[in-house]
Every structure is written in C-alpha cells, then in structure tokens.
C-alpha cells in the first residue's frame, strides 16, 4: 500500500509499504478514510524529536472503517465507521482507570527511551517516533489499532467524516487542556495558538462556561476562523501587546486560565525569538518556549497555566520565580482523548462543535510532500492538509 513517510529532516516521501497485520488479539485494522497533518508533525519534520527512522509512516489523526478485528475485540465489527484516538492506551492500568489515558503504563513498547528522557514512560502514539512506541502512522490505506476496543469510537450517523476526523486528536487535545486546567464558569481564558488544537481548546472553554475566551495568533486566516467558527475573541500578537490587552480584557487581573497550544517551535516578535532560535539551533535548549513564558507573565495571580503544545526536552529562561511568587498552577498533558471523545462526538452531532473548516486542503496520499510543505509554510491559508488515501 502507499504511505506518506518521514525520509529525513525536512524530507517527506510517498512509498510502498507492507499492509499491517493483526498481531495482538485486541487489535483492529482500520481502512483509513481521512488522515490529517498536525502541527506536532512539524517537530518531527524539523528534526526536533530525533527518534524517527527513514521510512516511518506519519500521521496520528484519522478516521475510517473497521476492516478486520482480532479475536478478543468485542465492541467493533467489520464495516463500522470509527474515529481513533491518537494515543495507544490499554484501558486496564491505574492511569487509564483514572482517566489519564495518555499516561498508560502499557501502550508504549519502547519504554526505555522515554524513561531515559523524562524519568517515566507514557503511552504510545501513532506515527510519532520510536520514542512513542514506533507505531506506524495513519497516512496510509490501512492502519493497525492496538487495544481496538479502547481506542476506536463509533461515529454518529449524522456526523460527517470531515467533522469526525478531528475528534481523533485536535478536539480531545483541546478538551484535555480546558478540562485539566480547571476552566470554571465565569473564567477569562486565553489560548496561545489559533491552529486546530488552540481552536478546540477555546471551544471547550466556552462550552465549560468561560465568560470570555481569547485566542492569540499572528495568521489572519486562523484568527478569522476563530471568530467565525469558534465564536471566541482574537488578538494578533504582531499587532498588539498581548499581556497588556489581556489585562484590559480581564479587569486588570490577567486571565484565570492560560492555555498554551503552540509548542516547541514558538515564534514571537523581537529579540526573544532570535535568542531562542540561536539556542535551539545550537542545541543549548531543545524547545522554544516563548508562548509559555508569556502565558506565565500574563496569567492572574493564583491562576493556571496549561502547556498543551508539544515539548520534548529542556528550555531556557523559564520564569520559575513568577510561577512560585504568583502561586500559579502549572500543568501539562498529552491528550487523554478516550475520556472526552464520546462527549465530543455527541456535541458534534448537535452542531455544538464544528471542525470541517480546519480541513482547508484535502488531497491524495501522493500529494503528501506538497501537503506538508503547504501546512508548514502556511501557503494558501492552509490550516490543516488532510489526506484521503482512497483518492
């Protein structure tokens, strides 16, 4: 079958790869209907998460049809239309049972790598490096889904493929951020990053009762999507002083909750960006944390900062003094999607969550390199390039 693969730093290929097989009794095989690029893929592309091998199949956000089931699978049948959460989690360990699904003890067959990097291993993720399990990704005709009863969810009839696709990763990641940050009724919430995850975090915060939700980005097409499809307010960080605007918008207090949905390749105007770029390129820090720094400074005293963007390792000039003295709660997580996806699909079926607008460019697998280039460079207003393997 054809697949979009990582070939090297900033090099994407389209290759023939073997079809996946059932290897565990709880596996299912899904014929991929749609598979999205994700901002976190750009960290793989740029070589910032250096546990990829040439030939690895990319993609972790997808939906499709069940093509085969293992003998222990009870919830799914061949032909079911499903969306699959991007994390591989067993559903049986203590972390899964606590709803902390991305922290699964058993979903990553390569625990030694992340134990070395972070002290403990977390669950696995499709198409996201050998540190995250080495699972083949979804930019292919078929994908193997371990723990199929846990990770695949039936799509309601009235939810389109294009909408359901983003219940795989962008939406549950946003829900994870807003919920785990403890958004309360009446809160002012600021979200750094107006891509798919940031938009979904904003929508989640609104549905959780936030009084005012503000999304910060520099791309006008993304900010327009936020205003039109999400219903949140926006700030262009290249045009205004973000902390000052946020203070004014929150009665001088600062936002109650600050959600960072940017990650390790943050941009910012001015000297800070140059400093971070130089240190990152020299590997004196692995990640550029400009948005996290700003969120910490902007957050109200006693508020919560949530790092939802992907970070890999170490950062420099981290304002720990502000965290401590302002009594901030600092949290982070990969997505605990298994606990949120049923609710998200229900909201999608009632038109309370809409995501089709994120798929600005739908194309074939053969156009994989072009899709990633457009997505990376934000060409033609690309918010997400989405691949349709059957086309």
């Amino acid at each position: 079958m054809r697949a979009v693969t990582w070939r090297g730093v900033n090099e994407i290929g389209v290759e023939d790869v073997p079809e996946p097989m059932i290897l565990n009794d709880q596996d299912i095989i899904v014929e991929v209907g749609l598979s999205a690029t994700c901002g976190s893929d750009l960290h793989l592309l740029g070589g910032y998460i250096p546990t990829m091998r040439a030939g690895d199949v990319l993609g972790h956000e997808f939906m499709g049809t069940v093509a085969e089931v293992g003998r222990s699978v009870t919830k799914h049948h061949v032909g079911d239309r499903v969306v699959v959460v991007s994390f591989t989690s067993c559903g049986q360990c203590w972390y899964c049972r606590q709803g902390l699904w991305s922290l699964c003890d058993n979903g990553n067959p390569n625990p030694g790598i992340t134990e070395a990097l972070w002290g403990q291993a977390i669950g696995g993720c499709y198409g996201y490096s050998h540190a995250m399990g080495g699972w083949a990704g979804s930019h292919a005709r078929y994908i193997r889904v371990p723990y199929g009863d846990q990770g695949a969810f039936p799509i309601p009839e009235n939810v389109s493929d294009e909408r359901a696709l983003f219940a795989s990763d962008a939406a549950p990641t946003g829900w994870t951020g807003a919920h785990q940050a403890g958004v309360q009724h009446g809160d002012v919430v600021a979200v750094w990053g107006g891509g798919g995850v940031g938009q979904m975090a904003a929508r989640a915060a609104m549905l959780m009762g936030a009084d005012r939700v503000v999304v910060i980005d520099r791309y006008e097409n993304r900010l327009e999507q936020v205003r039109t499809h999400i219903g949140a307010e926006t700030l262009d960080y290249e045009a205004v002083d973000v902390p000052a605007e946020l203070r004014e918008m929150s009665g001088g207090r600062g936002p109650d909750v600050c959600i960072e949905a940017v990650g390790m390749e943050a941009h910012t105007p001015g000297a800070q960006h140059v400093y971070d770029q130089v240190k990152q390129q020299m590997r004196l820090q692995t990640d550029r944390p400009a948005a996290v720094r700003e969120a910490i400074y902007a957050c109200r005293k006693g508020g919560t900062v949530f790092t939802l963007g992907v970070f890999a390792g170490l950062v420099d000039k981290f304002p720990l003094g502000a965290v401590m003295n302002k009594a901030l709660t600092l949290r982070g997580a990969q997505q605990h999607g298994h606990r949120y996806i049923p609710e998200i699909l229900e909201l999608m079926s009632r038109d309370e969550v809409k995501t089709e607008h994120l798929a600005t460019h739908v194309m074939s697998l053969e156009e994989g390199p072009k899709g990633y280039a457009m997505f990376k460079n934000k060409e033609d207003g690309c918010v997400r390039a989405v691949f349709r393997p059957a086309s």
Partner: protein, 161 residues
Amino acid sequence: MTSSTTVASRAARAGGTLARHVRTAFDPSAGRPAGSGQPASGWLVVTVLREESDIENSPLPAPLAEFGDRVELRVRSGSDGKGTELAARLRDQPTSSSALRRLSGKDPQADLRSALRRAKQILEVGEVLVVDPTPHGERTLTPGGAFVEAWTKAAPEAGVL
C-alpha cells in the same frame, strides 16, 4: 519505490541532532541521566492494578516464571487503591552498573526489567503488546538512523525501572 520531495533537506544534521538531544536529557548537575540510579536493595518494582490475592492465587506470568529460582519475588498491597506492588530481584545480585548501561539495556538486570514489564501487561491486559512487524518504507542507512534502531531494539529492556 520512493518519490520524495525535499523541502530543504538537512538529513545530515539528524545524527548530530540526535546525539545532542540525548546529551541534553542528562542531568548536568549529576553528570548522568536524571533518576537513572538503582536502589541498593536490587529490587525492581512495578505496580499492577489487580488485587493482591488475584496475583498470589494466579500462576506466575511466563516471563517471570522462566527465571525459576534465579529470582526472588515480593508481592504487597499498593497504597490507596493503586493496585499491588510486584517486585523482583536476582538472587545473585549483580554489582552496580552504570547509568548508561541501564539506559541502553546492557546491565545485568535488563532481562528481568523486561520480564517484569511483560508480566504486568499479562496480569493487567491479558497479553503482551507487540509492535513489529510494523509497516515502513525504505530504511536509508544513516548514523542517526542506526542510533535510533539500536536504541529501539534496547528499549524494552532499558530504562530506569
């Protein structure tokens, strides 16, 4: 067949990037990977989300049973509903090994570490998760790729458990 488009190919950078990332994962103050030491007792421990009686009354999972009397086992209730602590150590306790050997799965406890992880999976999930053979394209030989391949092969036995 590969049809690849180079956005701005910097593949040669990958090997150096990898080495630097590994280096930066080390705790500079300790001069070794953070938390990579080992307890003096020699026990390796996992917490299994099963009742203590379930574990005591079940056959020993095959990965641990294969060690026969070369290992000691200890089972005790975990704190606050977190499950049951299952510990194992080699009867002939090896001398302390370096952090690098532990993290690369080359220390004397590597096989036991892997067995303990697999036993936990059997007790909790009923089967041991396998990833290979996984679909992939052409594996181009590069220093970075060789390093990742070696680390991936060692990863099930390596770590700080």
